[in-house]
């Protein structure tokens, strides 16, 4: 079974802090993604990566950056946390080129509160 592990379930940070959200997958997947989930807005893509050291902006990248130094690890960085970044953050991984037969696998999420 694919396992996607997010390092923290709950985080509380202050406005202006630099925040790191870590994600590790154990299935040697090429693709990794960061989404955020907000009520009424569904899942929105922040950043994704197809390979080590590669990154692509998603639909809402502003205020975020990412790092992928190893294939299994994908980090989301909030450079200066703001209250509108309070959200549930979900990491996912997927096999490249798999299409409908190998959908994304998600971690259990990190609920971040910025005060």
């Amino acid at each position: 079974d694919v396992k996607v592990t997010q390092s923290s379930r709950y985080l509380v940070k202050r406005t202006g802090e630099k925040v790191f959200l870590e994600c590790v997958q154990d299935m040697d997947h090429e693709n990794m993604f960061w989404y955020r989930q907000d009520p009424g807005l569904g899942l929105r893509l922040i950043y994704f990566s197809y390979d080590v050291k590669m990154k692509e902006k998603g639909d809402i990248p502003e205020g975020y950056s990412v790092s992928r130094e190893k294939k299994e690890r994908f980090s989301l960085i909030l450079e200066s946390a703001s209250t509108n970044q309070t959200s549930m953050y979900l990491c996912a991984s997927g096999k490249q080129g798999a299409g409908e037969n190998s959908p994304l696998h998600f971690g259990n999420g990190t609920r971040l509160t910025v005060t």
């Binding site: 569904g42 893509l45 979900l90 959908p103 998600f106 609920r111």
Partner: protein, 111 residues
Amino acid sequence: DQQVKQNSPSLSVQEGRISILNCDYTNSMFDYFLWYKKYPAEGPTFLISISSIKDKNEDGRFTVFLNKSAKHLSLHIVPSQPGDSAVYFCAAPGGNEKLTFGTGTRLTIIP
């Protein structure tokens, strides 16, 4: 521009009856569609998919129907069970192997 839309934020269904969740899309080039289920405090889990060349796919109590002319898909759950209470997201490939998700429908099964 939201390419995948779920217009019903919530749905309540009696246990044992049929649950029907709907999803509309705008891009006729989508190759396939997926449904994910999400419990509180957990990540979404894949439920069922359908290729754009099919109009129906069934897996146990779950069936997804695709109407390409109407750009509409629906997920049928029958019979509905209390454990089906969750948020359901439809999704489609948004290009470059990323998924675009709808806003979700919260399904509540009433015992």
